[in-house]
Assembly symmetry: C2
Homo-oligomer: 380 residues x 2
């Protein structure tokens, strides 16, 4: 963890910094240049030390005569990154950025323009809606919230019913992620406009649940599992969320028109839940995660997951799409873990699609691309 | 502006502080006690000076041996307040709070429990949805966003059409305010469940607009006014938003089923726009603002606003409800300005309802109460 990177970098940086698209209205900092460096800036006249904390590295900022601290990072990967500022030891959100939930906190994020950003851009195409849906969960004895994407024309065509994708966030994130930093609604709006994806409903819920009557059992360890080793979230999804969505939205409610996908922890959940419920789901998407996580050990399909994967031929008849994605820059254990899972699928003869997002790590541009690719294969 | 208040206060504070309901998940600070004092806390080991900035006053925090700074404010008014922390001269959001748009920035807010908080609580009643609705505005040549509240059963009763309230934020706020810190959706859910309000659609848009072809004229001064002294926002609302809402939602689209209300700047806009368009609106709500703002001078109805208010009898036949609200602790010029406006209405013989929110200032609890009162009189 070095902090001299900023000084070295400044001798060679290209000075074409512009305010990031993820900034608050009228805020000048942070900025991004054509090399994908981030220039942070904050006024803190009496501070002793101010740092930009991004991409696992801290960069020292320097103060000018007006008390404005600025500093420049190394080039960042394309896409969206969480970050923060450190002022005399306090980790705080940057007041210049919009705020996002991730890394287990609401805090700053920054958008680094990507070469392929057109696929998630806000364009002049028909737009669906993102609906905040509050509901009481009897199982968890708590209010929960999901966001439901309804495709363009949902309200204009009251006779039409739609397939449904259940789409899950990762660890440290929540139900706001996919429709904000994930841009799931814009990705689908654009795909539907180009007729590359069929109109569908997307349900984005929170992947955490605690069932009070099973709390003792759940304390045994994550992921929280209650009766019969079934996670609390699986119970809420199967017994409460899906029936509610099928009752309150115009869904096609057979397994042929229901899919589930998720990223990281949500990918692990997706594989576990769909494989436990192949009578309910026929499309499966696992972005940057598999159900053997975090192990990278070879897997024997005869014994893994109670043998659920051992009969490839049978699974290939049931599962319409098994889709795996990974960024080429993802850190350990993801490549090894996903790789071991793929080898297991190969050994069992389970068909799947595998996609690699070039130049991205365990971050949102990987998952935006995953959704973009995956959604084109759904419900066809 | 004194900073010794915290020290004085600490000698007598009641030590029953609990994390605020507006905190991020699992965050211990800020806290609120039964006296409605705020206890801020942030770890900043190397900082020289840390302050809590709330209610127009800054309170010094003190550091413990672990580098945790804490400090306690004077008792605050009931309701919701924007605030921030100051770390060695840097104004930053408190990483413990959720973030809200107001005071022209996304930043911290805190909920101080109110005696009457039940009316905006999340309760076990049927809930409507809040829908994010993206649209392209040809007039402003820009993408805009509104949030649309659809009442419970909107999707279950496809044959029913609903009246519409257009509800506006204040200066320095945006289209997120009413459905987040305003709790407009919960207020209506609760009222509808108790049959105290009729089910209605609420459209919450952003009260700013710039029409490029009128930009030179608009520069003449706020509020931005284009052709014929009509504000840019009025043009967008009348020509674009209302036709879009009537086309895309199941509205009752006559003037008898359309109202407009707003707070502060939005109240000023509401009076101007509704009085310019009495063929379109019949319900008018002005929360903490009137169209003579910021003047407190006596108003002559014969000449004010081109004489629009001079014929009270005619207005009383046209306007189904003219509703004004104010908090008892609002600062100058609001009491004088609203008072002068009321005197003008009295002089002209225009009937109106006047409500005062006890013990609240120019803040969101005033406006939540306004909506709660106003909504019960709508469309009946």
């Amino acid at each position: 963890m070095t902090t001299i990177g900023a000084c070295l970098a400044q001798s060679t940086v290209i000075d074409d910094f512009k305010p990031a698209s993820s900034n608050q209205p009228n805020k000048q900092y942070p900025q991004v240049n054509s090399e994908r460096r981030v220039k942070a800036g904050i006024t803190a006249p009496q501070a002793q030390k101010v740092q930009l904390d991004i991409g696992g590295k801290r960069y020292d900022l320097t103060k000018d005569e007006k008390g404005l601290w600025t500093g420049i990072s190394d080039p960042q990967d394309e896409g969206f990154h969480y970050y923060q500022l450190n002022i005399d030891g306090a980790q705080v959100p940057d007041p210049g950025s919009l705020f996002f939930y991730g890394a287990s906190r609401w805090g700053s994020g920054i958008e680094i323009p990507a070469k392929d950003q057109d696929f998630y851009a806000l364009k002049n195409v028909p737009h669906g809606q993102v609906r905040e849906h509050l509901y009481f969960s009897k199982l968890t004895e708590a209010w929960r919230r999901c966001f439901v994407y309804t495709p363009p024309d949902y309200d204009k065509k009251p006779g039409v019913r739609y397939p449904v994708l259940y789409l899950q966030h990762g660890s440290g994130e929540d139900e706001t992620g996919w429709a904000v930093q994930g841009k799931a609604n814009l990705i689908l709006d654009n795909l539907i406009a180009e007729k590359k994806a069929v109109p569908m409903i997307i349900v984005i819920d929170k992947g955490y649940a605690t069932i009070p009557s099973q709390a003792a059992e759940q304390k045994a360890g994550p992921p929280a599992r209650g009766a019969g080793g079934i996670s609390a979230f699986e119970q809420v999804l199967i017994k409460e969320i899906i029936p509610m969505i099928d009752a309150e939205y115009r869904t096609l409610s057979d397994r042929e028109h229901r899919g589930m996908a998720g990223l990281s922890m949500g990918a692990n959940q997706t594989i576990q839940i769909t494989m436990n419920n192949l009578d309910i789901f026929s499309y499966i998407g696992a972005f940057s995660g598999t159900s053997n996580y975090p192990s990278t050990d070879p897997i024997d399909p005869a014994t893994f997951s109670n043998g659920k994967f051992k009969d490839g031929a049978a699974l290939n008849r049931q599962i319409k799409l098994f889709w795996l994605g990974l960024g080429t820059k993802e850190p350990s254990p993801f490549p090894g873990s996903v790789g071991a899972f793929r080898n297991m699928l190969d050994k069992a003869g389970v068909k799947y699609v595998y996609y690699e997002s070039p130049g991205t790590a365990h971050e949102w541009l990987t998952w935006r691309r995953d959704l973009f690719q995956f959604a084109q294969l759904l419900f066809k």
